[in-house]
Symmetry: C2
Subunit: 262 residues, 2 copies
């Protein structure tokens, strides 16, 4: 549904896991401009004035298609690009010793990926497409060069990083002090809000992630996620059919979540 508006983009070949980093070094040389992007109010240009947005157009970055299941970078890969999601949904994950993965976030259109790579020069997580997607690959060197000519742009980047910190704070609160129902309610309300901000229905949507991925993100087992979905359905808060969700009692769902959180 989200990819429908970007049909005129050259597809890139599928890149197997071991060499996925290689695509970072040779992005499709297709130029894109921020000033005319339909996501400019959500994405990098958000908060910038006309002149600064135009300055952003000086950035030479490429659009890329990413197939479902394909990673745009892996934990440990050299950090060179920041990625903006144009369409589709991604998950960010950390690898656990026993081979399992911990989901640290889901990213939707207009959201940025890869900011955790600045710390050490290597990506600290892996970003994988949950459906066929499209991204802008922004060379960090160019971006920071550009930022040195505009304090406003500097602030925007700092603000975006700060937002990520704040987001993770609330996730820590969720993981540290909420039970299963509160966690899932918080998750669904968050998705609902983000769908709404992107012009989709806030009450009915298609989850792109599996029960296991939701569980990993929320710190619970997939069976518990499934059970909690069923419990919400029995309570009349929503209707679920696999990944399709329809919220039928938004205030009720908010109450299930707001029992604890400020």
């Amino acid at each position: 549904m989200q990819t429908a508006t970007h049909a005129s983009v050259a597809p890139i070949r599928f890149v197997p896991r071991a060499t996925a980093a290689a695509i970072d070094d040779a992005p499709t040389p297709l130029k894109t401009q921020c000033s005319t992007c339909h996501l400019k109010d959500l994405c990098l240009p958000c908060g910038l004035t006309g002149t600064d947005v135009e300055r952003l157009d000086g950035l030479k970055f490429a659009r890329r298609r990413v197939k479902e299941g394909q990673a745009i970078y892996h934990e440990g890969d050299k950090f060179q690009f920041i990625y903006a999601v144009r369409s589709g949904t991604f998950k960010s994950t950390l690898n656990l010793r026993d081979g399992r993965e911990q989901v640290t976030g889901f990213q939707m259109a207009g959201e940025l990926l890869g900011l955790d790579g600045l710390a050490s020069g290597k990506h600290a997580s892996t970003a994988t497409a949950l459906e066929d997607a499209e991204i802008c690959a922004i060379p960090y060197a160019h971006l920071s060069e550009l930022a040195s000519t505009s304090t406003d742009l500097q602030h925007v980047i700092s603000r975006l990083m700060s937002r990520e910190i704040v987001r993770e704070h609330s996730l820590m609160m969720l993981l540290g002090s909420m039970n299963a129902e509160e966690r899932l309610a918080a998750f669904l309300l968050n998705i609902s809000q983000r769908m709404k901000a992107r012009g989709y229905s806030a009450s009915e949507f298609h989850l792109r992630m599996s029960r296991a991925e939701i569980g990993s993100y929320l710190g619970m087992k997939l069976e518990t996620v499934s059970r909690t979905f069923s419990a919400f359905a029995h309570q009349g808060l929503l209707e679920v059919d696999k990944k399709h969700v329809r919220i039928t009692d938004l205030p009720g769902l908010q109450q299930a979540f707001e029992l604890r959180v400020q």
Copy 2:
């Protein structure tokens, strides 16, 4: 023990909660330089070359004493300063609806506080001293002005923010996939490492936070924290007496933690 090295600083009066923000507007006008600070390898100047560190000296910021229990900013306060811990320990907290608080981090000498305020211009958390402490209050406006003259300084700030994101990632992993023993082991090893980096013993230290605060941070109840301490003691991994901890089997503790994490 940490405060002993900084005795020649004018004390500030205790400021009650409601007006604590006021001290932000009138910091003690005592100038400090980064280039001669004993924390320069841990703190803001970390990674900067000689010339850039000198440029940091152009920053006019004040040192301040903070009494145990006093907050340097509260959730919702206007964001103006970034704070560097000179001595002492702080906790960062979020308020929960039911009046309880969620601890999102502990900060030691050389670590920064307040970066979460950039996102919205208001502090997203509260920072409270766990013991008498000393901080540098760095006006963010000055810092970002200075950063516009040095790309290296820009990078340092970005890197520090990114580090915070990475730190929170691993905490999410901890909260999402570890049991009580793994959590406490991870916490103690982290504290141990940070003590070591500051020139203190890695194996014997005094915790500045209560069982309840540790529990809030680690997503467990204070009784469980206490029980897990006792369990470690029974296993011969450490000796505990209230807040005093001596790690007697570091490899054993690491094993208790590394069972899951990469």
